[in-house]
Amino acid sequence: MNTFAKLLTESASFASPEVTALQDSTLQESRQLADFLAATERRAFRIAQIALRHDQDALDAVQDAMLRLVRRYARRPAAEWPPLFYRILENAIRDMQRRRRTRSGVLAWLPWRGADDEHDEFDPVAQAPDPAPTPAAQVQTAETLQALERAVAALPARQRQAFLLRSIEGMDVAATAQAMGCSEGSVKTHYFRALQFLRGQLGEYWT
């Protein structure tokens, strides 16, 4: 057994330069990826949440996007991750919206519809009262935010994507175009139309 252990150690030390370099690069990539996801996940969640208007679906979409990015694009340069990630996320969002439309279309034909099983589960954390005080200003801000979210969710998909990537993720026109897979001119058009629509919808909240 000792001889076997010694052989193992010797073989490990023999292969160490290349193997160690490989392990180091993998570890570094993994760390970079972890940092990227940690820095992005909240904004990604809000983008998905506003688009889907459903917390659990938004979480699922973000997790799905994370998994796909890690599985398929972990070895791409880190600079390529943001546009790739948001493109994957947008695809996940649209898949969910499509599934939801199909499901509601099917459910509309069922006689026992009405019991929405997704809302049956009691989530004590979600139901717990917010411990922070809610002064009038905070209430007004919350109402404005809700109105904004509703209006954004009503936007056409491309306008919504352009508006949220620019507003929440803080991407410039070029990065947004890369994430959306379109030209910068298209991004400007989508963003401008989104702003016009939202301002028209939110006039009463914005004074």
Partner: protein
């Protein structure tokens, strides 16, 4: 669009952006925790996939090495073919001799007439010698 309208639109965009970014910063603890779990789950997948990716890195080199080995085997078979056949044939003869039990049975017979065999051999040798001399 006039300048005033442009200014209002920019102001609206600034306000909306501030509102949305505040909402990101103020995400509740439960959601943050679930996002962290989702991130860890995704990264665990990466750790599981990493050895596979390392293996895949060596795939082209392995394929080249395999091809070279195959070529060497084929070329080696072609150059050493006749020698192999000769040695194989020799081994076959040896096996035939070993398997031949007639000689052994003959030698083991106790009542052999050795005088007869000696006479037969010497007669044959004389006949050969005469043949050559004549």
């Amino acid at each position: 669009m006039n300048a005033d309208e442009q200014r209002r639109l920019e102001e609206f965009a600034r306000h909306a952006r501030a509102l949305l970014q505040d909402s990101v910063a103020n995400l509740d603890g439960a959601t943050r925790s679930r996002l962290t779990q989702a991130r860890h789950a995704a990264l665990d997948q990466a750790r599981v996939a990493a050895p596979l990716l390392q293996w895949r890195r060596w795939l082209p080199a392995g394929a080249v090495a395999g091809a070279v080995l195959a070529v060497l085997i084929v070329v080696g078979q072609q150059t050493s073919g006749p020698q192999l056949q000769a040695s194989t044939r020799g081994a076959g003869d040896d096996m035939e001799l070993l398997a031949d039990t007639d000689g052994l049975a003959l030698a083991q017979e106790s009542e052999l007439d050795y005088d007869f065999y000696e006479w037969a051999v010497s007669t044959a040798q004389q006949a050969d010698g005469g043949g050559v001399g004549s």
